[in-house]
Structure formats: structure tokens, C-alpha cells
């Protein structure tokens, strides 16, 4: 079995929400927001912009980068934890808007780990379904923006979408392996029940994430006889800059290897890893192994390793 990552794409809303704006509405200071999260600003979508629209934009950006026609897509996988409706999820709407009228379109209502699970599934399914488009789209502002704003969550989250094209045809990065995990005993520690607002036990989330992210990365690297220092770049769920720093420390790698854009976009849940990948891929990155990893509500977590194909 061979699977390849061909390209990434992203969509970020125009509206920039600064720490100064949130400081006024949460009773905190802009300095406190940045020191507790590393986030300087985030994007919030306009009221009329939905999850499907952002997902379509990211998908089109990805396909344009790949130079790949939409009508050749064999499967669509859509991750989103902030969707406001029960069923059908956003996969059907995104498939419709991309004019994918008969290929399977699957929803992963998983929040932060959704795009990682989507990539891992696509890696296994591409041999059967051909070219698979993985999309993650989140409008987190609609599940935290209640008055008064909850300082513990409102400062963290942003809106956006990301996409990746996975194929069995040779591409830029060969997908080597993935490990996925779920521990449902923590399912009440990070919850959006559909009516909002999002509830988070930050102490438990950070304590578990700080352990499980490095452990899953080391697990998948060991299976490929690789070690963290050999990895060129780590593309992680952009939860919080302080968490990313701790992951680097736990892996004994320099912080420069952990790609970070959470400072500018906040935590965009499932979309964040693919938004980060889009920016990273656009920097003409050095060749070598690259690791994706995410942790989120569930708790779901895991890691995936790929390597330059040429």
C-alpha cells in the first residue's frame, strides 16, 4: 500500500479579532491573553459565512495547488466539531458545492483531532477510493461567542478551514504510518453539546495533551525506526503556543522544528493542523520526515508520519 500527500489548502476569514478587543469583553488584559496562550489574534467568520463555505474555499485552494480537477476526487472526508446541525453534517453540503454528486462524503464530528483522523483514514482508503480530499472546517466563534464571553475559551478559538489531497499516485510526501487513540472516560472534559457554549476543563485537557501528544509521536516514529531529532518538521494541532513549546521539550527537539501559527489564527480546532500544513508547505520546506499530531475532545489523539517522496 502506498499513499501520498499531494497538496494542502486553507481558508481564513478576513475579520481579525485582536487580544485588545477580547480583553475589553472578557475583563482580562491583552498581555494576559498572550502570556497564557501565545495567541496575539485570531480570525472570526462573518455571521453569514458557514462551515461548508469555508470548507469549500479550503478545498478549492488545495485542488488549485495540486493542479487536480475536482471531478476526479474519489472520496471526501470532512472533519468539523463546531457544526451547528445534527444530520446531515457538512460533508454533504461541501460535496454538493464541489459538484461531487456520487462519491462518498463522510463526516468526522471530532473537533481538534478530526483532520488527523481524516488523513489516517484517507491513507488507508486511497487504494480503494482513489484521490481523497480531506477537509476540516470550524466556526468556533459560534460556539463560544456568548455574552459575557468566557475568558478561558473565548481567547483561544478562531475560525478557519484546511484541506489536504491524499492519493495512491506518487506525490510530494509519502505517508508512512499513523497511530490513532481514543479514551472516552474524558469525554465530558471538552464538550460542545450542539446548543453551546463549549465547555472545557483546561487543567485535564492540558495535562493529558502534554503527555499524549509526545507519546503518540514517539510511538509512530518508533514503528518506523525513526526518532524525533530526525524529523524535519512537526505539524501539530495549534492548540496553544505554551503546549507546543512543552511538546518540543518532551521530544527533546528545538522549538523551531514545531511549526507554529497559533499566534495569528488561534486554535481553529480540526482545521488548525491543515492550515499550519498549508503555510509550512508554502515555505519550500527542507526534505525529510514530517510528523502530524493532534489531540482533542473525546479524548481522541494520535500521530502520522510522512517523508519526502523525491
Amino acid at each position: 500500500m502506498s499513499a501520498y500527500l499531494h497538496a494542502f489548502g486553507s481558508h481564513l476569514p478576513e475579520r481579525v479579532v485582536t487580544n485588545a478587543e477580547l480583553a475589553e469583553r472578557t475583563g482580562k488584559t491583552a498581555e494576559w491573553i498572550e502570556s497564557s496562550s501565545g495567541i496575539q489574534q485570531r480570525r472570526w467568520a462573518a455571521p453569514e459565512t458557514g462551515i461548508a463555505a469555508m470548507g469549500v474555499s479550503a478545498a478549492e485552494s488545495c485542488l488549485k495547488t495540486a493542479g487536480f480537477p475536482t471531478n476526479k476526487i474519489g472520496m471526501l472526508i470532512v472533519a468539523s466539531g463546531s457544526g451547528a446541525r445534527g444530520f446531515p453534517g457538512p460533508a454533504a453540503a461541501i460535496a454538493d458545492r464541489l459538484c461531487l454528486l456520487s462519491v462518498p462524503a463522510i463526516d468526522l464530528p471530532m473537533a481538534s483531532a478530526g483532520s488527523l483522523f481524516g488523513l489516517a483514514l484517507a491513507m488507508r482508503l486511497t487504494e480503494t477510493y482513489g484521490d481523497i480530499l480531506v477537509v476540516a472546517s470550524e466556526k468556533m466563534s459560534q460556539i463560544i461567542e456568548t455574552e459575557p464571553l468566557d475568558a478561558n475559551t473565548a481567547i483561544l478559538f478562531g475560525d478557519g478551514a484546511g484541506a489536504a489531497l491524499v492519493s495512491s499516485r506518487p506525490g510530494r510526501w509519502r505517508m508512512l504510518d499513523a497511530v490513532l487513540h481514543t479514551d472516552g472516560q474524558y469525554r465530558e472534559d471538552l464538550v460542545f453539546d450542539g446548543t453551546g457554549p463549549l465547555r472545557m476543563n483546561g487543567l485535564t485537557v492540558i495535562l493529558q495533551a502534554a503527555r499524549k501528544i509526545p507519546a503518540s509521536i514517539e510511538e509512530v516514529l518508533a514503528r518506523q525506526n525513526l526518532s524525533a531529532p530526525q524529523v524535519t518538521a512537526f505539524l501539530l494541532h495549534q492548540a496553544n503556543l505554551n503546549l507546543l513549546t512543552r511538546v518540543a521539550k518532551a521530544l527533546n527537539v528545538g522549538p523551531e522544528k514545531i511549526f507554529a501559527n497559533v499566534q495569528r489564527y488561534g486554535n481553529t480546532s480540526s482545521a488548525s493542523m491543515l492550515i499550519a500544513a498549508t503555510e509550512w508547505a508554502g515555505t519550500n520546506p527542507a526534505k525529510g520526515p514530517v510528523v502530524f499530531s493532534a489531540f482533542g475532545a473525546g479524548f481522541h489523539w494520535g500521530a502520522l508520519v510522512a517523508d519526502s517522496a523525491d
Binding site: S36, D183, G202, L203, T204, V205, L207, A210, R211, R246
Partner: protein
């Protein structure tokens, strides 16, 4: 019966992680008092593992177990 030596070692670890002295009351919540935040907790657990040469399994990574000097002491009493 609390192990005063163990509690002293815990106080030292808390001070190293928090950068401030641990509270005199061993029952006082380190988080509600603002002494430790969510990102200090993983550091504190790692420091405890190193100091007491134990491995805290993921299933024991519950903030309540590390919420005060007394609770950490009780956890160590059960696991050493």
C-alpha cells in the same frame, strides 16, 4: 500520618515550578489560589516523577490528585 519529609520535598518542587513559595496550609488548592496554572501542572507531575523515581500513569493524570500538597502526599503514599 503525613510524611513531613515528603511534604517538604513536595513544597520544594511546587516552589521550583511556580516560582513562588508553596502555601503553608497543605490542604490549600494550588490552582484555585492561582499559584499554578494548567501549563505548570504537567511540569509539576514530571518533577514529582523525577524526584520520587515513580511513573505516574496516564490514568492517574487527574488534576485533583495534584491539587494540594496533602493530595500529592496521599498519592505518593499510595504509590511508593
Amino acid at each position: 500520618m503525613p510524611d513531613s519529609s515528603r511534604q517538604q520535598r513536595l513544597r520544594k518542587l511546587v516552589q521550583e515550578v511556580a516560582g513562588k513559595p508553596a502555601p503553608a496550609d497543605e490542604e490549600e488548592s494550588l490552582f484555585e489560589s492561582g499559584l499554578l496554572d494548567s501549563f505548570a501542572l504537567p511540569d509539576l507531575v514530571s518533577a514529582i516523577e523525577k524526584e520520587f523515581t515513580i511513573k505516574v500513569p496516564d490514568s492517574d493524570l487527574n488534576p485533583r490528585k495534584f491539587d494540594s500538597i496533602a493530595r500529592m502526599d496521599a498519592y505518593l503514599a499510595d504509590h511508593m
